[in-house]
Protein backbone atom coordinates (compact mmCIF):
# COMPACT_ATOMS: atom_id res chain seq x y z
CA UNK A 1 0.00 0.00 0.00
CA UNK A 2 1.36 3.41 -0.92
CA UNK A 3 1.81 5.85 1.98
CA UNK A 4 -0.82 8.25 0.59
CA UNK A 5 -3.37 5.44 0.17
CA UNK A 6 -2.65 4.29 3.74
CA UNK A 7 -3.27 7.84 4.91
CA UNK A 8 -6.59 8.05 3.06
CA UNK A 9 -7.69 4.70 4.52
CA UNK A 10 -6.64 5.93 7.97
CA UNK A 11 -8.70 9.12 7.63
CA UNK A 12 -11.72 7.14 6.38
CA UNK A 13 -11.47 4.68 9.32
CA UNK A 14 -11.17 7.59 11.70
CA UNK A 15 -14.30 9.29 10.35
CA UNK A 16 -16.20 6.00 10.59
CA UNK A 17 -15.07 5.55 14.18
CA UNK A 18 -16.18 9.08 15.06
CA UNK A 19 -19.72 7.97 14.24
CA UNK A 20 -19.60 5.45 17.11
CA UNK A 21 -19.37 8.37 19.58
CA UNK A 22 -16.00 7.13 20.81
CA UNK A 23 -14.18 10.21 22.18
CA UNK A 24 -12.44 12.07 19.35
CA UNK A 25 -9.13 12.14 21.24
CA UNK A 26 -9.08 8.36 21.69
CA UNK A 27 -10.01 7.71 18.04
CA UNK A 28 -7.18 9.95 16.83
CA UNK A 29 -4.69 8.22 19.16
CA UNK A 30 -5.87 4.72 18.19
CA UNK A 31 -5.93 5.28 14.42
CA UNK A 32 -2.67 7.25 14.57
CA UNK A 33 -0.96 4.47 16.55
CA UNK A 34 -2.23 1.66 14.31
CA UNK A 35 -1.46 3.58 11.12
CA UNK A 36 2.03 4.54 12.30
CA UNK A 37 2.71 0.94 13.37
CA UNK A 38 1.69 -0.38 9.93
CA UNK A 39 3.72 2.24 8.09
CA UNK A 40 6.86 1.86 10.19
CA UNK A 41 6.93 -1.00 12.72
CA UNK A 42 4.81 -2.08 15.74
CA UNK A 43 7.73 -1.28 18.05
CA UNK A 44 7.99 2.25 16.66
CA UNK A 45 4.23 2.63 17.10
CA UNK A 46 4.39 1.58 20.75
CA UNK A 47 7.24 3.98 21.44
CA UNK A 48 5.32 6.79 19.68
CA UNK A 49 2.29 6.19 21.88
CA UNK A 50 4.04 6.43 25.25
CA UNK A 51 6.52 9.19 24.36
CA UNK A 52 3.95 11.49 22.81
CA UNK A 53 1.44 11.16 25.63
CA UNK A 54 4.13 11.83 28.23
CA UNK A 55 5.61 14.75 26.29
CA UNK A 56 2.20 16.36 25.76
CA UNK A 57 1.27 16.07 29.42
CA UNK A 58 4.69 17.33 30.57
CA UNK A 59 4.88 20.24 28.11
CA UNK A 60 5.55 23.54 29.87
CA UNK A 61 3.95 25.48 26.98
CA UNK A 62 0.71 23.54 27.38
CA UNK A 63 0.44 24.40 31.08
CA UNK A 64 -1.07 27.67 29.79
CA UNK A 65 -4.29 25.76 29.13
CA UNK A 66 -5.20 24.54 32.65
CA UNK A 67 -4.10 27.87 34.12
CA UNK A 68 -6.25 29.98 31.79
CA UNK A 69 -9.19 27.60 32.32
CA UNK A 70 -8.69 28.03 36.07
CA UNK A 71 -8.75 31.81 35.65
CA UNK A 72 -12.11 31.59 33.85
CA UNK A 73 -13.54 29.19 36.41
CA UNK A 74 -12.48 31.40 39.32
CA UNK A 75 -14.02 34.38 37.51
CA UNK A 76 -17.26 32.49 37.08
CA UNK A 77 -17.47 31.18 40.63
CA UNK A 78 -16.65 34.57 42.14
CA UNK A 79 -19.50 36.28 40.31
CA UNK A 80 -17.50 38.48 37.89
CA UNK A 81 -20.02 37.59 35.16
CA UNK A 82 -22.88 39.14 37.13
CA UNK A 83 -21.06 42.44 37.59
CA UNK A 84 -20.11 42.58 33.91
CA UNK A 85 -23.69 41.98 32.93
CA UNK A 86 -25.07 44.65 35.22
CA UNK A 87 -22.54 47.18 33.83
CA UNK A 88 -23.80 46.52 30.31
CA UNK A 89 -27.38 46.47 31.53
CA UNK A 90 -27.31 49.95 33.14
CA UNK A 91 -25.94 51.48 29.92
CA UNK A 92 -27.90 49.61 27.26
CA UNK A 93 -30.96 48.29 29.11
CA UNK A 94 -33.23 51.21 28.18
CA UNK A 95 -32.70 50.79 24.42
CA UNK A 96 -34.91 48.41 22.45
CA UNK A 97 -33.00 45.11 22.38
CA UNK A 98 -30.62 46.65 24.92
CA UNK A 99 -30.56 43.63 27.22
CA UNK A 100 -29.46 41.39 24.35
CA UNK A 101 -26.81 44.00 23.47
CA UNK A 102 -25.70 44.06 27.11
CA UNK A 103 -25.46 40.26 27.04
CA UNK A 104 -23.21 40.33 23.97
CA UNK A 105 -21.00 43.03 25.50
CA UNK A 106 -20.75 41.11 28.78
CA UNK A 107 -19.83 37.96 26.82
CA UNK A 108 -16.89 39.83 25.24
CA UNK A 109 -15.79 41.16 28.62
CA UNK A 110 -16.10 37.72 30.23
CA UNK A 111 -14.20 36.26 27.25
CA UNK A 112 -11.30 38.43 28.45
CA UNK A 113 -10.92 36.22 31.52
CA UNK A 114 -12.37 32.98 30.16
CA UNK A 115 -10.96 31.14 27.16
CA UNK A 116 -13.83 28.78 26.49
CA UNK A 117 -16.88 29.43 24.37
CA UNK A 118 -19.41 27.03 26.01
CA UNK A 119 -18.31 28.25 29.46
CA UNK A 120 -18.95 31.87 28.44
CA UNK A 121 -22.34 30.92 26.96
CA UNK A 122 -23.36 28.97 30.07
CA UNK A 123 -22.27 31.77 32.39
CA UNK A 124 -24.06 34.51 30.49
CA UNK A 125 -27.18 32.38 29.95
CA UNK A 126 -27.48 31.94 33.72
CA UNK A 127 -27.22 35.69 34.30
CA UNK A 128 -28.89 37.11 31.18
CA UNK A 129 -31.83 34.82 30.38
CA UNK A 130 -33.92 35.52 33.53
CA UNK A 131 -33.49 39.29 33.00
CA UNK A 132 -34.55 39.11 29.36
CA UNK A 133 -37.50 36.95 30.38
CA UNK A 134 -38.49 39.63 32.93
CA UNK A 135 -38.74 42.22 30.14
CA UNK A 136 -40.68 39.87 27.84
CA UNK A 137 -37.91 39.36 25.32
CA UNK A 138 -38.63 36.95 22.52
CA UNK A 139 -37.10 33.57 23.47
CA UNK A 140 -35.37 33.30 20.10
CA UNK A 141 -33.53 36.63 20.50
CA UNK A 142 -32.71 35.99 24.17
CA UNK A 143 -31.26 32.50 23.70
CA UNK A 144 -29.72 33.35 20.31
CA UNK A 145 -27.79 36.30 21.75
CA UNK A 146 -26.39 34.25 24.63
CA UNK A 147 -25.42 31.24 22.49
CA UNK A 148 -23.79 33.44 19.84
CA UNK A 149 -22.22 35.88 22.29
CA UNK A 150 -20.53 32.94 24.03
CA UNK A 151 -18.62 32.32 20.80
CA UNK A 152 -16.78 35.62 21.22
CA UNK A 153 -14.94 33.98 24.13
CA UNK A 154 -13.13 31.87 21.52
CA UNK A 155 -11.50 34.87 19.83
CA UNK A 156 -11.11 37.25 22.75
CA UNK A 157 -7.81 36.45 24.46
CA UNK A 158 -7.09 34.28 26.37
CA UNK A 159 -8.45 31.68 23.99
CA UNK A 160 -7.89 27.94 24.38
CA UNK A 161 -8.34 27.31 20.64
CA UNK A 162 -5.71 29.92 19.81
CA UNK A 163 -3.26 28.39 22.31
CA UNK A 164 -3.71 24.98 20.66
CA UNK A 165 -3.36 26.47 17.19
CA UNK A 166 -0.19 28.26 18.30
CA UNK A 167 1.33 25.09 19.70
CA UNK A 168 0.41 22.87 16.75
CA UNK A 169 1.76 25.37 14.20
CA UNK A 170 4.65 26.70 16.31
CA UNK A 171 3.33 30.27 16.25
CA UNK A 172 3.68 32.80 19.06
CA UNK A 173 0.72 32.49 21.44
CA UNK A 174 1.30 36.09 22.50
CA UNK A 175 0.92 37.32 18.92
CA UNK A 176 -2.18 35.20 18.38
CA UNK A 177 -3.69 36.64 21.55
CA UNK A 178 -3.19 40.27 20.61
CA UNK A 179 -4.32 39.49 17.05
CA UNK A 180 -7.65 38.33 18.46
CA UNK A 181 -8.53 41.61 20.23
CA UNK A 182 -9.76 43.69 17.27
CA UNK A 183 -11.65 40.82 15.58
CA UNK A 184 -13.42 40.14 18.90
CA UNK A 185 -14.43 43.81 19.16
CA UNK A 186 -15.53 43.77 15.51
CA UNK A 187 -17.74 40.74 16.14
CA UNK A 188 -19.19 42.43 19.24
CA UNK A 189 -20.14 45.49 17.15
CA UNK A 190 -21.63 43.29 14.44
CA UNK A 191 -23.65 41.31 17.01
CA UNK A 192 -24.98 44.53 18.55
CA UNK A 193 -26.00 45.64 15.04
CA UNK A 194 -27.68 42.25 14.52
CA UNK A 195 -29.75 42.79 17.69
CA UNK A 196 -30.60 46.33 16.58
CA UNK A 197 -31.81 45.18 13.15
CA UNK A 198 -33.76 42.24 14.64
CA UNK A 199 -35.62 44.69 16.91
CA UNK A 200 -36.25 47.02 13.97
CA UNK A 201 -37.89 44.18 12.05
CA UNK A 202 -39.86 42.84 15.00
CA UNK A 203 -40.72 45.54 17.54
CA UNK A 204 -41.75 42.99 20.17
CA UNK A 205 -38.53 40.96 19.98
CA UNK A 206 -36.74 43.07 22.62
CA UNK A 207 -38.82 45.64 24.49
CA UNK A 208 -36.96 48.49 26.16
CA UNK A 209 -36.09 48.00 29.85
CA UNK A 210 -35.34 50.29 32.78
CA UNK A 211 -33.44 53.57 32.48
CA UNK A 212 -30.66 54.19 35.00
CA UNK A 213 -29.22 57.43 36.31
CA UNK A 214 -25.67 58.32 35.29
CA UNK A 215 -24.61 57.82 38.90
CA UNK A 216 -25.89 54.24 38.81
CA UNK A 217 -24.17 53.72 35.47
CA UNK A 218 -20.78 54.85 36.73
CA UNK A 219 -21.20 52.77 39.85
CA UNK A 220 -21.88 49.72 37.69
CA UNK A 221 -18.89 50.62 35.55
CA UNK A 222 -16.70 50.10 38.60
CA UNK A 223 -17.73 46.45 38.39
CA UNK A 224 -15.69 46.28 35.18
CA UNK A 225 -12.53 47.59 36.81
CA UNK A 226 -11.20 44.28 38.13
CA UNK A 227 -11.76 42.50 34.80
CA UNK A 228 -10.03 45.32 32.95
CA UNK A 229 -7.16 45.21 35.42
CA UNK A 230 -6.68 41.45 35.01
CA UNK A 231 -7.00 41.69 31.22
CA UNK A 232 -4.47 44.53 31.06
CA UNK A 233 -2.08 42.58 33.29
CA UNK A 234 -2.38 39.34 31.33
CA UNK A 235 -2.47 40.58 27.72
CA UNK A 236 -0.33 43.65 28.43
CA UNK A 237 2.24 41.46 30.18
CA UNK A 238 2.45 39.15 27.16
CA UNK A 239 2.43 42.09 24.73
CA UNK A 240 5.37 43.84 26.40
CA UNK A 241 7.26 40.59 26.90
CA UNK A 242 7.06 40.72 30.71
CA UNK A 243 5.54 37.24 30.97
CA UNK A 244 5.44 34.04 28.99
CA UNK A 245 1.83 32.88 28.31
CA UNK A 246 2.11 30.35 31.17
CA UNK A 247 3.27 33.05 33.57
CA UNK A 248 0.52 35.38 32.37
CA UNK A 249 -2.08 32.66 32.94
CA UNK A 250 -0.76 32.00 36.47
CA UNK A 251 -0.65 35.68 37.34
CA UNK A 252 -4.17 36.13 35.88
CA UNK A 253 -5.63 33.17 37.79
CA UNK A 254 -3.91 34.29 40.99
CA UNK A 255 -5.12 37.87 40.42
CA UNK A 256 -8.75 36.76 40.05
CA UNK A 257 -8.37 34.57 43.16
CA UNK A 258 -6.83 37.40 45.17
CA UNK A 259 -9.53 39.91 44.21
CA UNK A 260 -12.26 37.38 44.96
CA UNK A 261 -10.79 36.57 48.38
CA UNK A 262 -10.25 40.22 49.33
CA UNK A 263 -13.79 41.10 48.27
CA UNK A 264 -15.11 37.93 49.93
CA UNK A 265 -16.76 36.82 46.72
CA UNK A 266 -15.41 33.28 46.58
CA UNK A 267 -16.32 30.55 49.03
CA UNK A 268 -14.11 27.53 49.73
CA UNK A 269 -16.74 25.44 47.93
CA UNK A 270 -16.51 27.75 44.90
CA UNK A 271 -12.71 27.47 44.91
CA UNK A 272 -12.80 23.66 45.01
CA UNK A 273 -15.47 23.62 42.29
CA UNK A 274 -13.25 25.83 40.11
CA UNK A 275 -10.33 23.42 40.58
CA UNK A 276 -12.43 20.34 39.77
CA UNK A 277 -14.01 21.86 36.67
CA UNK A 278 -10.56 22.95 35.52
CA UNK A 279 -9.17 19.44 35.97
CA UNK A 280 -11.93 17.86 33.86
CA UNK A 281 -11.78 20.41 31.04
CA UNK A 282 -7.96 20.47 30.97
CA UNK A 283 -7.77 16.68 30.86
CA UNK A 284 -10.20 16.66 27.93
CA UNK A 285 -8.22 19.33 26.03
CA UNK A 286 -4.79 17.81 26.70
CA UNK A 287 -5.98 14.35 25.71
CA UNK A 288 -7.27 15.90 22.46
CA UNK A 289 -3.85 17.42 21.80
CA UNK A 290 -2.08 14.14 22.59
CA UNK A 291 -4.43 12.34 20.18
CA UNK A 292 -3.88 14.98 17.49
CA UNK A 293 -0.10 14.80 17.91
CA UNK A 294 -0.11 10.99 17.52
CA UNK A 295 -2.43 11.19 14.52
CA UNK A 296 -0.27 14.00 13.09
CA UNK A 297 2.81 11.75 13.26
CA UNK A 298 0.96 9.11 11.27
CA UNK A 299 -0.15 11.72 8.72
CA UNK A 300 3.44 12.92 8.43
CA UNK A 301 4.72 9.44 7.48
CA UNK A 302 1.95 9.15 4.88
CA UNK A 303 3.10 12.55 3.53
CA UNK A 304 -0.56 13.50 2.98
CA UNK A 305 -0.27 17.13 4.22
CA UNK A 306 2.73 17.77 1.96
CA UNK A 307 1.12 16.01 -1.01
CA UNK A 308 -2.04 18.08 -0.59
CA UNK A 309 0.03 21.26 -0.26
CA UNK A 310 2.02 20.58 -3.44
CA UNK A 311 -1.10 19.39 -5.28
CA UNK A 312 -2.97 22.58 -4.42
CA UNK A 313 -0.07 24.81 -5.38
CA UNK A 314 0.22 22.94 -8.69
CA UNK A 315 -3.47 23.53 -9.47
CA UNK A 316 -2.84 27.15 -10.38
CA UNK A 317 -6.03 28.05 -8.56
CA UNK A 318 -6.45 31.55 -7.18
CA UNK A 319 -5.22 31.45 -3.55
CA UNK A 320 -8.42 33.21 -2.46
CA UNK A 321 -10.44 30.33 -3.89
CA UNK A 322 -8.37 27.77 -1.99
CA UNK A 323 -8.89 29.75 1.21
CA UNK A 324 -12.62 29.87 0.46
CA UNK A 325 -12.70 26.07 0.09
CA UNK A 326 -10.74 25.60 3.33
CA UNK A 327 -13.07 28.01 5.15
CA UNK A 328 -16.05 26.09 3.82
CA UNK A 329 -14.55 22.82 5.10
CA UNK A 330 -14.00 24.40 8.55
CA UNK A 331 -17.55 25.70 8.56
CA UNK A 332 -19.00 22.30 7.65
CA UNK A 333 -16.65 20.49 10.05
CA UNK A 334 -17.62 22.86 12.84
CA UNK A 335 -21.27 21.98 12.22
CA UNK A 336 -20.62 18.29 12.84
CA UNK A 337 -17.80 18.23 15.34
CA UNK A 338 -16.60 20.03 18.44
CA UNK A 339 -14.69 23.16 17.33
CA UNK A 340 -11.61 22.40 19.39
CA UNK A 341 -11.46 18.80 18.20
CA UNK A 342 -11.89 19.87 14.59
CA UNK A 343 -9.11 22.44 14.79
CA UNK A 344 -6.66 19.99 16.40
CA UNK A 345 -7.51 17.39 13.78
CA UNK A 346 -7.32 19.54 10.64
CA UNK A 347 -4.67 22.16 11.32
CA UNK A 348 -1.81 19.71 10.56
CA UNK A 349 -3.47 19.02 7.18
CA UNK A 350 -4.38 22.54 6.06
CA UNK A 351 -1.62 24.61 7.64
CA UNK A 352 1.10 23.54 5.12
CA UNK A 353 -1.33 24.33 2.26
CA UNK A 354 -2.00 27.82 3.55
CA UNK A 355 1.70 28.47 4.13
CA UNK A 356 2.47 27.26 0.61
CA UNK A 357 0.03 29.87 -0.68
CA UNK A 358 1.91 32.55 1.24
CA UNK A 359 -0.74 33.58 3.78
CA UNK A 360 0.13 34.89 7.21
CA UNK A 361 -0.07 32.11 9.86
CA UNK A 362 -1.45 34.48 12.53
CA UNK A 363 -4.15 35.74 10.15
CA UNK A 364 -5.12 32.17 9.25
CA UNK A 365 -5.36 31.21 12.93
CA UNK A 366 -7.84 33.99 13.65
CA UNK A 367 -9.85 33.26 10.50
CA UNK A 368 -10.31 29.58 11.35
CA UNK A 369 -11.27 30.41 14.92
CA UNK A 370 -13.86 32.83 13.53
CA UNK A 371 -15.22 30.15 11.21
CA UNK A 372 -15.32 27.43 13.84
CA UNK A 373 -17.12 29.96 16.04
CA UNK A 374 -19.95 29.65 13.52
CA UNK A 375 -19.82 25.90 14.07
CA UNK A 376 -20.57 26.22 17.78
CA UNK A 377 -23.96 27.78 17.01
CA UNK A 378 -25.04 25.86 13.90
CA UNK A 379 -26.92 22.55 13.80
CA UNK A 380 -26.56 19.69 14.28
CA UNK A 381 -23.68 19.89 16.78
CA UNK A 382 -23.76 23.59 17.81
CA UNK A 383 -22.49 23.03 21.36
CA UNK A 384 -23.40 26.51 22.61
CA UNK A 385 -27.00 25.97 21.53
CA UNK A 386 -27.21 22.80 23.62
CA UNK A 387 -25.53 24.52 26.55
CA UNK A 388 -28.02 27.40 26.42
CA UNK A 389 -30.89 24.93 25.95
CA UNK A 390 -29.81 23.15 29.14
CA UNK A 391 -29.37 26.37 31.13
CA UNK A 392 -32.70 27.77 29.85
CA UNK A 393 -34.45 24.66 31.15
CA UNK A 394 -33.11 25.40 34.63
CA UNK A 395 -33.38 29.19 34.84
CA UNK A 396 -36.65 29.80 32.94
CA UNK A 397 -40.03 28.49 33.96
CA UNK A 398 -40.57 26.98 30.52
CA UNK A 399 -38.63 25.00 27.93
CA UNK A 400 -37.26 26.79 24.88
CA UNK A 401 -37.38 24.51 21.83
CA UNK A 402 -34.03 23.83 20.18
CA UNK A 403 -35.49 24.99 16.85
CA UNK A 404 -36.29 28.33 18.41
CA UNK A 405 -32.71 28.80 19.60
CA UNK A 406 -31.39 27.85 16.17
CA UNK A 407 -33.79 30.40 14.67
CA UNK A 408 -32.53 32.97 17.16
CA UNK A 409 -28.90 32.55 16.10
CA UNK A 410 -29.64 33.33 12.41
CA UNK A 411 -29.00 37.12 12.60
CA UNK A 412 -25.79 36.47 14.55
CA UNK A 413 -24.63 33.88 12.02
CA UNK A 414 -25.11 36.44 9.24
CA UNK A 415 -23.14 38.94 11.34
CA UNK A 416 -20.31 36.41 11.73
CA UNK A 417 -20.21 35.72 7.99
CA UNK A 418 -19.94 39.48 7.38
CA UNK A 419 -17.18 39.59 10.02
CA UNK A 420 -15.16 36.87 8.29
CA UNK A 421 -15.54 38.65 4.92
CA UNK A 422 -14.34 41.93 6.49
CA UNK A 423 -11.32 40.19 8.04
CA UNK A 424 -10.42 38.54 4.74
CA UNK A 425 -10.75 41.86 2.90
CA UNK A 426 -8.87 43.82 5.58
CA UNK A 427 -6.24 41.52 7.13
CA UNK A 428 -4.71 44.56 8.84
CA UNK A 429 -7.51 44.41 11.44
CA UNK A 430 -5.95 41.14 12.60
CA UNK A 431 -2.30 41.85 11.91
CA UNK A 432 -2.01 45.44 13.10
CA UNK A 433 -1.42 44.64 16.78
CA UNK A 434 0.90 41.62 16.31
CA UNK A 435 3.07 43.70 13.93
CA UNK A 436 3.18 46.47 16.51
CA UNK A 437 4.36 43.85 19.02
CA UNK A 438 7.32 43.00 16.78
CA UNK A 439 8.07 46.65 16.16
Amino acid sequence: MSPVLAGIVGIAVMILMFMTQMPVAFVMALVGFLGFSIMTSPDAGLVLLSRNIYETFASYDLTTIPLFILMGQLGFNSGISKRLYSAGYTFLGSVRGGLAMATVTACTAFGAVCGSSPATAATMATVGLPEMKRFNYDDALATGSVASGGGIGMIMPPSVVLIIYGILTEQSIGQLFVAGIFPALLVTMLFISAVFITCLIDENAGPAGETFSWAARFKALLGLSETLMIFALVVGGIFYGLFTPTEAASVGAFGVLLIAVIKRQLTWKGFVKSLMETLTTSCMVLMLIAGAVIFGKFLAVTRIPFEIASWVSGLNMAPALVIAVIIFIYFMGGCFMDALAFVTLTVPIFFPVVMELGYDPIWFGIIIVMVTEMGVITPPVGINVYVVYGVAKNVLSHNVALEKIFKGITPFLIALIIGVIILIAFPAIILFLPHLMYA
Partner: protein, 164 residues
Protein backbone atom coordinates in the same frame (compact mmCIF):
# COMPACT_ATOMS: atom_id res chain seq x y z
CA UNK B 1 -16.74 -6.74 42.47
CA UNK B 2 -18.32 -4.21 44.81
CA UNK B 3 -15.08 -4.04 46.78
CA UNK B 4 -13.12 -3.36 43.58
CA UNK B 5 -15.69 -0.72 42.65
CA UNK B 6 -15.26 1.02 45.97
CA UNK B 7 -11.50 0.81 45.71
CA UNK B 8 -11.46 2.33 42.21
CA UNK B 9 -13.82 5.12 43.27
CA UNK B 10 -11.61 5.88 46.25
CA UNK B 11 -8.48 6.00 44.07
CA UNK B 12 -10.26 8.21 41.54
CA UNK B 13 -11.21 10.64 44.33
CA UNK B 14 -7.68 10.61 45.77
CA UNK B 15 -6.17 11.26 42.34
CA UNK B 16 -8.63 14.09 41.77
CA UNK B 17 -7.53 15.75 45.02
CA UNK B 18 -3.88 15.25 44.10
CA UNK B 19 -4.58 16.88 40.72
CA UNK B 20 -6.30 19.85 42.37
CA UNK B 21 -3.33 20.30 44.70
CA UNK B 22 -0.89 20.07 41.77
CA UNK B 23 -2.89 22.70 39.86
CA UNK B 24 -2.86 25.09 42.82
CA UNK B 25 0.88 24.57 43.30
CA UNK B 26 1.48 25.12 39.59
CA UNK B 27 -0.20 28.52 39.82
CA UNK B 28 1.51 29.53 43.07
CA UNK B 29 5.03 28.46 42.05
CA UNK B 30 4.79 30.38 38.79
CA UNK B 31 3.49 33.52 40.53
CA UNK B 32 6.24 33.37 43.17
CA UNK B 33 8.81 32.80 40.42
CA UNK B 34 7.57 35.84 38.45
CA UNK B 35 7.53 38.00 41.58
CA UNK B 36 10.96 36.68 42.56
CA UNK B 37 12.35 37.53 39.13
CA UNK B 38 11.56 41.21 39.66
CA UNK B 39 13.62 41.07 42.85
CA UNK B 40 16.33 39.03 41.12
CA UNK B 41 15.43 35.88 43.08
CA UNK B 42 13.49 33.55 40.78
CA UNK B 43 12.76 29.99 41.89
CA UNK B 44 15.50 27.70 40.64
CA UNK B 45 14.10 25.06 38.26
CA UNK B 46 10.55 26.45 38.38
CA UNK B 47 9.90 25.54 34.73
CA UNK B 48 10.82 21.92 35.48
CA UNK B 49 8.66 21.77 38.61
CA UNK B 50 5.68 23.21 36.69
CA UNK B 51 6.23 20.61 33.95
CA UNK B 52 6.19 17.80 36.55
CA UNK B 53 3.04 19.20 38.15
CA UNK B 54 1.42 19.45 34.70
CA UNK B 55 1.82 15.68 34.31
CA UNK B 56 0.18 15.21 37.71
CA UNK B 57 -2.73 17.51 36.80
CA UNK B 58 -3.69 15.67 33.61
CA UNK B 59 -2.80 12.14 34.71
CA UNK B 60 -4.71 12.48 37.98
CA UNK B 61 -7.82 13.76 36.19
CA UNK B 62 -7.98 10.87 33.70
CA UNK B 63 -10.29 8.47 35.63
CA UNK B 64 -12.66 11.21 36.84
CA UNK B 65 -12.94 12.89 33.40
CA UNK B 66 -13.80 9.57 31.77
CA UNK B 67 -16.34 8.72 34.47
CA UNK B 68 -18.23 12.00 34.06
CA UNK B 69 -18.18 11.73 30.24
CA UNK B 70 -15.89 14.75 29.94
CA UNK B 71 -14.31 13.78 26.60
CA UNK B 72 -15.96 15.07 23.44
CA UNK B 73 -17.45 12.65 20.95
CA UNK B 74 -19.62 12.96 17.85
CA UNK B 75 -23.23 12.18 18.72
CA UNK B 76 -24.87 12.71 15.34
CA UNK B 77 -25.63 9.06 14.59
CA UNK B 78 -25.80 7.46 18.04
CA UNK B 79 -28.52 9.75 19.36
CA UNK B 80 -30.94 8.31 16.79
CA UNK B 81 -30.18 4.69 17.69
CA UNK B 82 -32.47 2.59 19.90
CA UNK B 83 -31.25 2.29 23.49
CA UNK B 84 -30.03 -1.28 23.16
CA UNK B 85 -28.03 -0.48 20.05
CA UNK B 86 -26.56 2.52 21.79
CA UNK B 87 -25.48 0.38 24.72
CA UNK B 88 -23.91 -2.17 22.38
CA UNK B 89 -22.07 0.65 20.62
CA UNK B 90 -20.93 1.91 24.03
CA UNK B 91 -19.65 -1.55 24.88
CA UNK B 92 -17.70 -1.67 21.62
CA UNK B 93 -16.08 1.76 22.01
CA UNK B 94 -15.32 1.26 25.71
CA UNK B 95 -13.64 -2.07 24.96
CA UNK B 96 -11.50 -0.44 22.26
CA UNK B 97 -10.63 2.35 24.72
CA UNK B 98 -9.67 -0.22 27.35
CA UNK B 99 -7.38 -2.03 24.92
CA UNK B 100 -5.78 1.26 23.84
CA UNK B 101 -5.10 2.53 27.35
CA UNK B 102 -3.95 -0.84 28.68
CA UNK B 103 -1.32 -0.75 25.93
CA UNK B 104 -0.46 2.87 26.80
CA UNK B 105 -0.15 2.01 30.51
CA UNK B 106 2.05 -1.01 29.74
CA UNK B 107 4.25 1.08 27.46
CA UNK B 108 4.50 3.78 30.10
CA UNK B 109 5.92 1.19 32.55
CA UNK B 110 8.39 0.13 29.85
CA UNK B 111 9.30 3.80 29.34
CA UNK B 112 9.78 4.19 33.11
CA UNK B 113 12.22 1.29 33.11
CA UNK B 114 14.08 2.66 30.08
CA UNK B 115 14.42 6.06 31.74
CA UNK B 116 15.59 4.56 35.02
CA UNK B 117 18.21 2.44 33.27
CA UNK B 118 19.40 5.41 31.22
CA UNK B 119 19.54 7.45 34.44
CA UNK B 120 17.69 10.38 32.85
CA UNK B 121 17.38 13.41 35.09
CA UNK B 122 15.95 16.90 34.58
CA UNK B 123 18.38 19.54 33.36
CA UNK B 124 18.49 21.94 36.33
CA UNK B 125 17.20 20.11 39.38
CA UNK B 126 18.64 16.78 38.25
CA UNK B 127 15.44 15.07 39.42
CA UNK B 128 15.12 11.47 38.15
CA UNK B 129 12.49 11.68 35.42
CA UNK B 130 11.42 8.04 35.72
CA UNK B 131 9.42 8.91 38.88
CA UNK B 132 7.24 11.28 36.86
CA UNK B 133 6.69 8.70 34.13
CA UNK B 134 5.94 6.11 36.80
CA UNK B 135 3.22 8.35 38.27
CA UNK B 136 1.71 8.64 34.80
CA UNK B 137 1.92 4.85 34.29
CA UNK B 138 0.18 4.18 37.61
CA UNK B 139 -2.56 6.76 36.84
CA UNK B 140 -3.07 5.16 33.43
CA UNK B 141 -3.44 1.76 35.11
CA UNK B 142 -6.18 3.11 37.37
CA UNK B 143 -7.70 4.82 34.34
CA UNK B 144 -7.86 1.43 32.63
CA UNK B 145 -9.55 0.09 35.77
CA UNK B 146 -12.16 2.87 35.51
CA UNK B 147 -12.82 1.99 31.87
CA UNK B 148 -13.31 -1.66 32.90
CA UNK B 149 -15.71 -0.49 35.62
CA UNK B 150 -17.75 1.37 32.96
CA UNK B 151 -17.74 -1.71 30.71
CA UNK B 152 -19.16 -3.83 33.54
CA UNK B 153 -21.82 -1.19 34.16
CA UNK B 154 -22.76 -1.17 30.45
CA UNK B 155 -22.98 -4.98 30.43
CA UNK B 156 -25.23 -4.87 33.50
CA UNK B 157 -27.49 -2.33 31.80
CA UNK B 158 -27.68 -4.52 28.72
CA UNK B 159 -28.58 -7.52 30.86
CA UNK B 160 -31.26 -5.72 32.80
CA UNK B 161 -32.49 -3.79 29.77
CA UNK B 162 -32.93 -0.73 31.99
CA UNK B 163 -32.73 2.85 30.79
CA UNK B 164 -29.59 4.80 31.40
Amino acid sequence: MKLLDRFLNLVSDLLKSAGALALTLMMLITVVDVAGRFFKHPIFGSVEIVGFLAVAVTAAALPHTYKVGGHVGVEIITRFLPRRMRLLMDLFTRTLTLILFSVVAWQMFVYTKDMQQAGEVSMNLEFPLHYIVLFLAVSLTFFSGTILQQIVSTVNQLRKGTTR
